[in-house]
């Protein structure tokens, strides 16, 4: 019997999608005005965990995030949404931390304590799409990625993962396992007032990382190269309208 499940949800704090990104030499940075939020896919992951809680199958949802002090805002938000405890792995302000390093920090924390470890399918900013798989492999757990629906049944869960617009795959995972969650029509909830008040009083535990971020490979950033020379249509809106019509006509669609 695994119920009540012990659940860990891994959360990354990311800049809002509309945040303006700058390049300083070869590293990305954001200015002070930037709003940071919970990675969209991690919100869906937390929502899946909270739905298990709604069914009375857990009262043990922990959230964890690595990063500088500001990530505590994301952890606080996870408590407001309904998580029970939050843990902060304090690392430097490095948006582009190597996934292997993040996975090692999380597995070191998780040890063999949890039945289900949730992550988002990827982060909105770095888009590596590998941290969940790395966590599972390091822990030796079975796992599924890109999951859009979960059914729990004692010591196993049935997951549906999406392959493309037409095809999905369904199978049973034995607990303990790792599940990475894809966005779906299951919208993450807004915090309730009672949860917001409760979260205010809650303590966020500080964890020291197990190892220093070892540079595994060198990495630098640039503005993407154009793969196509884009011809910007100039002039007034009226002129652009006429020109668009001409282009569509030349391409045989009107």
């Amino acid at each position: 019997m695994s119920i009540p499940y012990k659940i860990l949800v891994c959360i990354k704090q990311v800049p809002d999608v509309n945040a303006k990104i700058y390049l300083e030499k070869t590293k990305p940075y954001y200015d002070e005005k930037t709003v940071y939020v919970i990675n969209r896919y991690d919100e869906y992951a937390l929502e899946e965990a909270l739905q298990i809680k709604d069914k009375g199958l857990t009262h043990y949802i922990h959230t964890i995030s690595s990063g500088p002090e500001r990530v505590q805002k994301a952890l606080r938000r996870s408590l407001e949404m309904g998580a029970d405890e939050a843990y902060h792995i304090v690392t430097g302000d490095d948006d582009c931390a190597i996934p292997y390093y993040v996975a090692r920090c999380i597995t070191e924390f998780a040890k063999k304590e949890y039945d289900i470890i949730f992550t988002g399918v990827m982060s909105q900013d770095a888009m590596n799409q590998q941290t969940g798989q790395l966590i599972a492999s390091i822990m030796g757990y079975n796992y599924a990625t890109g999951v859009t629906s979960i059914q729990t049944n004692d010591d196993e869960i049935t997951v549906t993962r999406e392959l493309d617009a037409q095809t999905s795959m369904q199978y049973v995972l034995k607990i303990p396992c790792v599940v990475t969650v894809q966005s779906s029509s299951t919208m993450p909830r807004y915090p309730s007032l009672s949860n917001v008040l409760r979260a205010k009083k809650q303590h966020i535990d500080i964890i020291k990382p197990i190892m220093s971020s070892q540079v595994q490979y060198h990495s630098f950033y640039t503005i993407p190269q154009k793969t196509t020379e884009c011809e910007f249509i100039q002039g007034s809106t009226d002129q652009k309208v006429v020109e668009l019509y001409n282009i569509l006509h030349r391409n045989g669609v009107v």
Binding site: C96, D125, A136, N142, A144, A165, Y171, T227, F232
Partner: protein
């Protein structure tokens, strides 16, 4: 030292985009004598084409219905060890990305995902899309560790494939012993929506449309063209503004109409991978720095809410 290519599986067949990995392997190889192996992750996928006669094909002796990521990644690592693979490459698709990062743990390798460009500087350098397509991350491999990489579909030309009939290469089937017995069911959505495959012109819409009601504007725009369809980015489908059958991108459909018009779509690499097949791409976006313009043939810097109504007015007067 060798290169191991992992075939991607789609609808019980080898995904044709697997041919792009042979082009990527050629760039990585530098030396034409570097042995290349093709690994097919299950033994019930139809082999429809032969990519290179000198390539040894290794087939995992397991049906796709017994797919399990930990077992498969261990098997791949063990094969990689036997053939001394230094590079293991697969497509960045929901199928392959499920197990590829785990191979890197089992094989003690680097893992670089969503790669679209491969070049040699002093070292092998892999460029990958990040920050919603706003920046490219260049990863230089500076040590001797092997490399596992997922390649975004559509990034490389297809290596000339031949009919499978002249498959003269060696095929080795390897049985794997997996501790986890898993039975997977594949669910094919019954709603076979082929409108995106058949349309000459597709109007794509992003989160910028703001609400389901505002889609009327896009439908009116599409109505003007005889063989048109409306598609959306993933988030538009998550919000329920369009059904998932209309989603374009890595987790949705890949489209190849005559013309694709991206309306208020910023252009994340996830979406762009799905529109590469369009002959002409036109982007309408009020942000002149939107990454969508990097892959568009024509750019219109305008707010769709003022531009499209004006366009509709113009064509009514014609």
């Amino acid at each position: 030292m060798s290169i191991l290519i992992i075939a991607d599986i789609k609808n019980n067949q080898i995904n044709p985009a697997t041919a792009e990995l042979f082009t990527a392997a050629n760039i990585i190889a530098k030396d034409i004598t570097t042995p290349v192996y093709l690994l097919i992750p299950c033994n019930d996928a139809k082999i429809t084409s032969n990519y290179r006669p000198d390539v040894t094909t290794i087939v995992i002796g397991m049906g796709i219905y017994h797919y399990n990521a930990p077992g498969l990644s261990k098997a791949i690592a063990s094969i990689a060890h036997d053939i001394e693979a230094h590079y293991i490459i697969g497509l960045h698709t929901p199928f392959t990305i499920d197990f590829l990062p785990s191979v890197s743990i089992e094989y003690n390798a680097h893992c670089v995902t969503q790669v679209h460009t491969i070049e040699y500087d002093e070292h092998l350098t892999l460029a990958r899309g990040s920050y919603s397509g706003k920046l490219d991350q260049f990863v230089s491999i500076v040590d001797d560790k092997p490399v596992v990489a997922s390649i975004t579909p559509g990034s490389f030309d297809e290596y000339g494939a031949k009919d499978a009939d002249d498959l003269i290469n060696k095929v080795i089937e390897i049985n794997i012993d997996t501790a986890i017995k898993q039975w997977c069911t594949f669910i094919i959505s019954e709603n076979k929506d082929s409108s995106l495959d058949e349309a000459d012109i597709i109007i794509g819409v992003g989160k910028g449309i703001g609400s389901k009601d505002n889609l009327t504007l896009i439908y009116n725009f599409a109505k003007f063209f005889p063989h048109s369809a409306v598609a959306g980015s993933r988030i538009v489908c998550d919000y329920g503004w369009l059904p998932y059958s209309k989603q374009v991108g890595i987790t949705g459909k890949s489209i190849s109409p005559k013309v694709y018009i991206a309306c208020a779509i910023s252009g994340s690499s996830q979406h762009i991978a799905g529109i590469k097949g369009a002959k002409t791409i036109i982007a309408i976006n009020k942000d002149p720095y939107a990454p969508i313009f990097n892959v568009s043939h024509y750019g219109i810097v305008e707010d769709i809410f003022t531009f499209i109504p004006q366009f509709l007015e113009y064509i009514q007067r014609l």
